[in-house]
Symmetry: C2
DNA sequence: TTGACGAATGATACAATGTAACATTTTTTT
DNA sequence: AAAAAAATGTTACATTGTATCATTCGTCAA
């Protein structure tokens, strides 16, 4: 999908919530959308400086990421300390609980929708030992197809 | 289980691999075992200074944690940037792939053994979208029973 | 006993990630 | 135009992590 289309959809998504996708916010989101992988806040600050020639301090990037995340436009990957554009910006309703497959070799991320029954099973297993599942987002350390090949196949 | 017992078992575990549980390593492991929760490397350096009166620099703590992890005596929690003592030090064989339930409120951690069939299902789902599961360790954001009560029950 | 060697730890410096607090600018509303 | 709210800038600092070299400690052989 064309990144311009995604950004337009994101802008509409913001409007519909009474928020604005400002120029800076659009820059950050565009950086994530175009890179197709997970980036740190500092990566994104560098991106704005190097590729766009605009200055954007890391503190601002953090604020903007927080904003984008609150609207479900990006996700924070806790295991990687990085952020990715939501893969479902354009298919509005599908904005459910995400699972992330993160390639440990190249950083590419696949966001897959969660299976309801799978989460239920997980949640029940957790309750059984006296805990309560507070966040259904899963992050799985993976290798993408390309990197599996490069590293000599699956063992 | 008494922490002295655990430390003795850990020492034996090291010996059986031709490694040594030195005084410093024992201090770090003891800190994790006694605290019953996840601690950062800097937390552990503070622990050694404040509670034991011994000096142990963070760089050394990192090295020691790396050592302990290589022997399966501690685990690193990637979502929290913290470390926990393995709950299965004393039941040697049970040292399988762990799942961690991490209370987001108090930091207590429950390490549960993984269900083989669960992992298989997960692994297959991942393969289906062209990725390969590289690490079975799951970390789940939870609330422990105590903290659920304190925070007014489950929503 | 001593010297050599490797393992373990100390020490210094720095990189990367993240947050708090306050100032300034921009936009919107009145 | 003035006031209020939203967005961004700026500074300072806290936390987590790594790289590199120096020193100490334990072991073993000459
Ligand atoms: Zn998403
Ligand atoms: Zn890859
Ligand atoms: Zn364990
Ligand atoms: Zn708790």
């Amino acid at each position: 999908m064309k990144s311009e289309t995604i950004l337009e959809q994101a802008a509409l998504h913001c409007e519909s919530r009474g928020r604005k996708l400002t120029a800076k916010r659009r820059q950050v989101l565009a950086g994530l959308v175009k890179s197709q992988k997970a980036l740190s806040a500092y990566d994104l600050a560098d991106y704005c400086r190097d590729k766009l020639g605009t200055s954007l301090l890391p503190t601002s990037v953090y604020r903007i990421l927080e904003f984008l995340e609150s609207l479900g436009l990006v996700h924070r990957l806790n295991t990687a300390n990085k952020y990715v554009a939501c893969a479902h910006v354009t298919c509005d309703g599908a904005n459910e609980i995400p699972q992330f497959l993160i390639c440990q070799s190249c950083g590419s991320v696949k966001e897959i929708g969660i299976t309801k029954s799978f989460v239920q099973g997980l949640s029940q297993a957790v309750e059984k030992v006296g805990f309560h599942l507070a966040n259904n987002q899963l992050e799985l350390e993976c290798l993408c197809a390309d990197c599996v090949v490069q590293q000599g196949g699956v063992q």
